[in-house]
């Protein structure tokens, strides 16, 4: 019986291997992003990448439940908002430092995920999607009407002098950049591990054919819940980060209608159900949005979304695997 197998990687990590092929790309990307703000110092362009990180993380979180497990979640905004509001609320009312606030937000998001998922995951996939669809709407309305959370005005975090403890940096935005960067690395590393783990295999099986998966001993509801909880936790954490980054948390900015579908869009453009898809998607969509908004202003309202809409329609019709699919095809072509 041969010991090595092409399908599953089992060899240990070592430096020479780290610099080969795909891994080289990852290392270079990490170096690039690490060096970026030191080279491109303009705050505008640094902030764009911070937003890219935020969306890349949130899109990857969506990808876990939507891409790998195949359960289309349309309520990710709720987890984002949960994380943001929790962190802000705890900070303003109980003086709890953001680092703990982030964890609290993640936990509450996980609880919410269980509440939503438990009844809906035993139904066919589309029910879950529809169930989550309304949740985002409802959440915004509920928050708008809850004075505890500041209603329409939201919660404004106090502007404090620069401190790591309170996650506030004003002289330079660099610390925010690197915090987001670290969270991004952690998220993608976690998903990379998940892909090769038993959970990852089971999620893919559930997505491919739930009935067959169950016949092989897979408790589909349990694994969907696990995926959903992880997704919610990550989204909650980045929501909390966002709150401390912009220092204003209101129902319109952290619970926007379009948030969940944006994540879906990014993941599909980049390659749904793949490790790097969400990053590619975010890296393309975010800068485009920021740039159109920056240069076209109000006159360009809706234009960027129109471009994405057309893009995603083309993609889903002709290359459902997104950019990754296109890359694969090009590789196959070149190999000939």
């Amino acid at each position: 019986m041969p010991q090595t197998d092409s399908t599953v990687r089992t060899r240990p990590i070592s430096l020479p291997r780290l610099l080969k092929g795909k891994n080289l790309g990852v290392v270079l990307a990490i170096l690039f992003f690490a060096a970026y703000p030191l080279v491109i110092t303009s705050p505008f362009y640094v902030q764009i990448i911070i937003r890219v990180f935020v969306y890349a993380i949130a899109a990857q979180a969506w990808n876990i439940i939507g891409g790998y497990a195949g359960q289309v979640s349309l309520c990710q905004a709720v987890f984002f908002g949960m994380g943001a509001f929790t962190s802000a609320y705890l900070m303003v009312h109980y003086d709890i430092i953001p680092w703990i606030g982030l964890i609290a937000g993640a936990i509450l998001s996980m609880v919410l995920a269980v509440i939503i998922g438990f009844p809906t995951f035993r139904l066919v996939g589309r029910y879950f999607a529809i169930a989550t669809m309304g949740l985002g709407e409802i959440a915004q309305i509920i928050v708008l009407n809850t004075s505890l959370l500041g209603g329409a005005v939201g919660i404004w975090l106090p502007v404090l002098p620069d401190s790591f403890k309170y996650m506030q940096f004003h002289k330079s935005k660099l610390p925010y950049y690197y915090i987001a960067f670290v969270i991004a690395i952690a998220t993608y590393a976690a998903v990379a591990w998940l892909e090769k783990s038993k959970i990852g295999y089971y999620l893919r099986a559930i997505k491919a054919d739930q009935q067959a998966a169950e016949s092989l001993g897979i408790d589909s509801r349990k694994y969907k819940l696990i995926a959903f909880m992880i997704s919610a936790a990550i989204t909650g954490i980045i929501g909390g980060f966002y709150a401390n980054y912009v220092l204003v948390v209101d129902p319109f900015s952290v619970l926007p209608r379009s948030f969940s579908s944006m994540l879906l869009l990014m993941s599909v453009i980049g390659g749904v159900g793949t490790l790097w898809g969400p990053l590619y998607g975010a890296a393309i969509v975010m800068p485009l949005t920021e740039l159109t908004r920056g240069f076209l202003g109000a006159g360009g309202r809706g234009l960027d979304v129109m471009i994405y809409a057309i893009l995603i329609i083309i993609i889903i019709l002709f290359e459902p695997q997104g950019i990754q699919g296109v890359i694969k095809r090009v590789k196959v072509r070149l190999a000939r």
């Binding site: 197998d5 599953v8 054919d209």
Partner: protein, 246 residues
């Protein structure tokens, strides 16, 4: 021991009785065949046992335990694995990965699952095809992958649903050998089949369904010689052929 006992299992769908009070016993290490014309309720019976379509009435016992209506994944954990009549391999994954999913029933480590899966692939003759994408292989291979995948869960009872469909007459001998090998490993096999060349030589007993009810049961010769069965299903040719030998 009596591994699987069905006691008057009935399944009704909107007025249609797909299974009518079917009672069957499968003993350990047996190979029991389940035959009957299309629509007789064979696959429905499998679904009743595996939990994907719980029976309307009646009971299913496995190793003495009442598993009627238990969820499919729990049924698998208890030791029953099945394949599907309409093949359900996991597209987008390789043959090896498909079988690994089965093996992950026994372990939490994909590494260990891979080892187990490779063994099963070797056992079933699929080793050379392990890296092919499961959606792109032939139907015959897909059925074999399903079999391997189910086997990888290390069940006690293996329920096969028409795994020999589409087999070339030359390939049927191989299938017979494989199922015998499976029994030698200690598995019990409950098999739905239309391909008599495979079923007749290896079954210890055969159960015949027609219109949802059991109409006959016995050794292959007994069943082949049964005029009721012959009338409903086998046709004179097989009846003659198999009454003579064994």
């Amino acid at each position: 021991m009596d591994l699987l006992v069905l006691d008057k299992v009935t399944k009704t769908f909107e007025g249609i009785e797909a299974n009518k009070e079917v009672s069957i016993t499968v003993r350990e290490h047996e190979i029991v065949g389940l035959i009957g014309p299309n629509g007789a309720g064979k696959t429905t019976l499998f679904s009743c046992i595996s939990g994907s379509k719980p029976p309307t009435s009646g009971k299913v016992f496995f190793r003495g335990e009442d598993i009627t209506g238990t969820r499919p994944d729990v049924v698998c954990k208890k030791g029953i694995a099945r394949t599907f009549q309409i093949v359900k391999t996991f597209a987008g994954m390789t043959v090896l990965e498909n079988v690994m999913i089965g093996a992950l029933n026994n372990t939490g480590s994909p590494r260990v699952a891979r080892e187990q899966a490779l063994e099963v692939l070797n056992f079933t003759g699929l080793y050379p095809k392990r890296d092919l994408e499961a959606g792109q292989i032939t139907l015959v291979d897909k059925k074999r992958v399903e079999l391997a995948r189910a086997l990888a869960t290390r069940p006690q009872l293996l329920m096969l649903d028409e795994v020999c469909a589409g087999l070339h007459p030359n390939e049927r001998g191989e299938a017979v050998l494989l199922i015998e090998k499976i029994r030698e490993q200690g598995y019990t096999v409950f098999i739905i089949e239309h391909v008599m060349d495979v079923l007749m030589p290896i079954s210890d007993r055969i159960v015949v369904l027609n219109y949802g009810a059991k109409i006959a049961e016995g050794t292959p010769e007994e069943v082949a010689g049964n005029p009721l069965v012959r009338k409903a299903y086998l046709g004179e040719r097989y009846g003659e052929k198999y009454s003579a030998i064994r």
